[in-house]
Symmetry: C2
């Protein structure tokens, strides 16, 4: 019966659940190799797991002596993909992205891709049909970069970006993975005149791009918040922030006071750290009338909603949408234009 289903640009035709849900919410996707006419199949080279997801997997497989059981971690990823037909961490709900080469293009695909294009997918692995065919034999399970042979399917409404020639593929992939953050940061910052912007996790990948995006969008003062001195030194060397301050983002009062001491409260606070419990501090670091953008998948919706209410905080809180038109090009442009961003990325590859 499913063989004659019509395709839907959302990928609905590949959902195997009994209830009608979108691919991202589905328990299981149809990973058949044959394409519907608006689809594209990618030969996968590498998966890039979401940082929060990889950290959760590492915690789960940490032994009593503090070492990580890498074989068990690898087996869990294989198990998830085999049973669900996609890579979606059941705890964090998040996935990641992939890089590969276009293998086949359906006759009515609207994505503009051609066989042989080397691409990164800009939609999450949580909704991408995926088959792993090499048992992840080449992955040491020690980083979220996963060499992988297999195939994946893109829908009519998916997004993929052709990797640029002037940058190493790993670098482009790392940039595109977080490109929604600087794009949305730029859009929000440009609505305030001479904004003070605080980026929590400013030395990280999405954080450093967001600092650069805030600056380019007209921020008058950009503050980078980092958890320890090593990151502070890195961020200072990058020149991306006017002020670099140390604070544990999970400690709301410490965060509030650190941002205040650096020239806050902020008009725009951008949360780029993948640890739970940062909602209260982000709210308290933000001025009345300001905006908090949550990019961390560890964000709790109810903690944010009830936290702001409980603090009588008149702040706008945005769910960090990973899609803004032009986001990949914008992020690559920031990387090319800010040496500090490039250095921070290259150090982390």
């Amino acid at each position: 019966m499913t063989g004659v289903r019509e395709s839907d640009p959302t990928g609905l035709h590949r959902v195997l659940d009994d209830r009608v849900v979108l691919p991202q919410a589905a328990q299981r996707l149809d990973t058949r190799h044959a394409l519907w006419s608006d689809e594209v199949r990618i030969r996968v080279e590498r998966l890039n797991l979401d940082a929060a997801s990889f950290r959760q997997l590492e915690r789960t497989h940490t032994r009593a002596d503090g070492t990580v059981d890498r074989d068990a971690l690898r087996a869990e990823v294989l198990g998830i993909v085999a049973s669900r037909g996609k890579m979606q961490n059941p705890e964090t709900g998040s996935g990641g992205m992939l890089v590969g080469t276009v293998e086949e293009v359906g006759a009515s695909s609207p994505l503009g891709l051609a066989v042989g294009d080397r691409v990164a997918t800009l939609v999450s692995l949580t909704l991408t049909p995926l088959v792993i065919q090499d048992g992840l034999a080449a992955w040491d399970a020690a980083t979220e970069q996963v060499p992988c042979d297999g195939y994946a399917v893109l829908f009519g409404r998916s997004i993929a970006a052709v990797l640029p020639d002037d940058l190493a593929p790993e670098l482009s992939l790392a940039v595109m993975d977080v490109c929604g953050a600087p794009a949305l940061t730029a859009r929000v910052v440009s609505r305030y005149a001479g904004a003070t912007v605080a980026v929590i996790g400013g030395a990280g990948k999405s954080g450093s791009l967001s600092l650069a995006a805030a600056r380019d969008a007209g921020a008058a003062r950009v503050i980078g918040v980092v958890p320890h001195e090593q990151e502070a030194a890195r961020l200072r060397a990058s020149g991306l922030a006017d002020e670099v301050v140390l604070a544990d983002a999970r400690d709301p009062i410490a965060l509030r006071d650190a941002v205040a001491a650096a020239g806050g409260p902020a008009d725009v606070t951008v949360v780029c750290v993948d640890v739970p419990g940062c909602e209260g501090g982000a709210i308290l670091s933000t001025a009345a009338g300001g905006t908090v953008i949550f990019f961390s998948m560890a964000t709790s919706f109810s903690a944010a909603a009830l936290g702001a209410e409980g603090l009588a905080a008149d702040v706008t809180m945005l769910v960090g949408n990973g899609y803004v038109p032009g986001h990949a090009e914008h992020a690559l442009h920031l990387l090319r234009g800010h040496d500090g961003v490039r250095r921070l990325f290259e150090e982390r590859l």
Copy 2:
């Protein structure tokens, strides 16, 4: 040692956890009867549990034959409050609000309350120190309205509204409980010229107020989405919506198509239904450049963020902040000015 802690307007001084967290995130609050100087103590008459929380409790205590074990439900609420010093459902993370009479006002309280004022608290129970002193003997555990004798404490930065004389207290309480939704809806709708607004759950309390708020804020077309014919009839009779459509909000394609048929996609989509899985449909019902406001505590942050990304949807997604300055007065004004809102509320009391 805690006896000499200085008070903080956020209520930090009453957090008993080892880590520094705000009262909302705390496992346990100090419920001591004596006040810090910026606090207010309320003699509690009634708790109003959050709808998502009460429904979760009912599900948990539903027997095999479909009946609900009301005694066990009551015991669980008592257990939560006794162990945590506040009412916060561990599953949903949500609380509710309360009504009572001001019993004592600290010398430096900024809230402007006087002993004897009958008030509703507009901060969540999830951060309000609470002691129940009657074992909830007067509560049948069949509704989220909980008659209760006990006391609660407000902090310097809490909010409480004096109950108006012209409305029944139950009515005022029900309105104030959801007053953040119409206030934020009005603010967002007023940014669009002649907006099309869809309210998912339009016949409910926050939904009907949001419809009225959208209309008063200049919406050109307001669409109410409801799950079944009974609610549709109610909403039609209220006159609050230009179009009333039936759809299961958890079915993204059905919701998208229903809103489109009623004149959508919407510029502003307001999610007021307390069921999980509405993120995808809300996103698909919203036009590019539009805004989704999530008021349901059942919203999943990652489902919203990854859903929009996966659908390449350029929509702004707001965490429904329960606090907007003047929200209680605004909601009471809507109730007084829209007979349809008032009837829907009175039917639900």
